[in-house]
């Protein structure tokens, strides 16, 4: 069982929605959380809230879609919270809003989604996994979507970038099987978040899961990660603690 107490957890997209809920939940478990977001004020608010509850949190203002931000992110996280034990690649870019069919999508929108949803996580994995292997501990969680599997019209940019992330997870796990780091991706399901409202503005929030409930499930997945097949794709709504 993975014990969060004193562990260093790096969460991208940490100021809103699922990232924020994970940060609150993990800090309550005793983890030191380093949160990455682009907007200082929102980030400060979450850090303040966690500290007020007695938790340990640090804010890192950066864009995970920018290559040059990667070592500053990981360096700040490691300096402040310690060598990264858990990486949660949660930051996501939806693509064009409102959503567009593939032939109507600008190339730049697809490139941006790939940078944030696929290449950013790849770079962060690259920057933290070596130390995890040497320390023989580490969990990498990539937040995916059912759009990575289902061919929903107008979700091409988001779905393709998340499908690539799922496969990156599987291949990383295959390459480093038994070397000490655990990888899995999670389809969190539909949640009442700002991103969901941007994608589907007519959805009734009452029909959606709360980010807190999904965060709770992901925390149990990480806790039991040594019993989950490395590289698995997990679906939060179907998850039952082992």
């Amino acid at each position: 069982m993975f014990d969060f107490n004193g562990k260093s957890v790096l969460i991208t997209g940490g100021s809103r929605g699922l990232g924020r809920a994970l940060a609150r939940r993990l800090s309550a478990e005793g983890a030191k959380v380093a949160l990455v977001a682009r907007h200082q004020e929102e980030l400060d608010e979450v850090v303040r809230e966690i500290r007020k509850q007695g938790g340990t949190a640090f804010g890192i203002v950066a864009d995970v879609g920018d290559k040059e931000s990667v070592y500053p992110i990981v360096g700040q996280a490691a300096a402040l919270a310690g060598p990264v034990d858990v990486l949660i690649n949660n930051a996501s870019a939806l693509g064009p809003v409102p959503l567009q069919l593939i032939p109507d999508t600008d190339c730049e929108d697809f490139e941006r989604a790939l940078q944030v949803n696929t290449i950013g996580p790849f770079r962060l994995i690259k920057a933290v996994v070596g130390s995890m292997i040497l320390r023989k501990t580490g969990v990498i969680v990539n937040i995916s979507s059912d759009a990575a599997v289902e061919a929903y019209p107008s979700w091409g940019v988001y779905g393709a970038s998340k499908a690539a992330l799922d496969h990156l997870t599987r291949i990383a796990a295959a390459e480093m099987a038994d070397a000490g780091a655990r990888f899995f991706s999670v389809d969190p399901g539909e949640m009442a978040t700002l991103m969901h409202a941007q994608a589907l503005p007519d959805a009734d929030p009452a029909d959606l899961q709360s980010p807190d409930a999904v965060a709770e499930k992901i925390v149990t997945m990480i806790r039991e990660s040594d019993r989950i097949a490395n590289g698995s794709r997990l679906i939060a709504s179907e998850w039952r603690p082992l």
Partner: protein, 333 residues
Amino acid sequence: MKAARAPRADKTNVKLLVVKDGEIEDSSIERLPDHLRSGDLLVVNDAATLPASLPARDARNNRVELRLTKQLDERVWQAAVFGAGDWRTPTEDRPSPPRFAQGQEILIAPDFRARVRGEDQLSGRLLDLEFNLSGEALWRSLYQHGKPVQYSYLEDELKLWSVQNVYSSRPWAVEMPSAGHALSWRLMLRLIRKGVQVVPLTHGAGLSSTGDVRIDLALPLAERFEIPLSTMEAVRRTSVGAGRVIAVGTSVVRALESADQGPSGFTTLKLGPGYERKIVNGLLTGTHDVSESHYKLLQAFLPENILALVSRHLERQDYLTHEFGDLCLILAE
């Protein structure tokens, strides 16, 4: 020796000179697993490299460059100060910086300043600085304004990407622990699968040159290290068994040989001729010119006559030197 003037795009062609039992053998980094055996322990320095060079100005608007050497306290760092210019000028040719008095302010950015707390007895160019920021704000500013420390033999400005090893973790090093620059995970997984254990420690590798004779003669300065208990235990098991403890870089030697003072702290240990190693049996290291301070450190592993033979061979066979250069594996049973 010729300097490697840029990060190596293809690390598989890094040459490796193996020195064992007084014999030398030309090899390559790709053949490293052939030279190690099951039961050996490879110890790496997992310090990430901080962008430790900060362009700044004094109160009279004179340009200076701060090169951080180590963190002493939450807001307090030691730094070597350089006069106007940058890495493109050899350190020994840089103009002297103005003399700083205690309490004087150095401006890095409008919201990022340092106050001089005092100078080291070694030199007025080695200062203790107290920043106006701490915690997240300090680290953010260091990453925002700092650049990797580099020297005039390089062709281009280095990216932070180019000065990290593939297992880097906490940003304690102000120059890349460069003996690990050619190690890939493909290579390390081959070593691990062969039965070679690879374990980390963290050592805040410092500056290799400042151009100030008094400081340079005293290098390496006191450097911070931390050895995880699991690494201490692996070293102990290897030492009582048939395996060899092989350090990747002299910073690892310094930390391991200082372990009798405890698993963490600052080490002032000087390696050199006459030093009797207690723990380390082998060293993977960069290649160094006779004139460099690193050359002296290697005398803790090799007698002067063998070292001279090695130097001549490296020169004749066009081995490249400095942080992106070729490597040398010294196995001293």
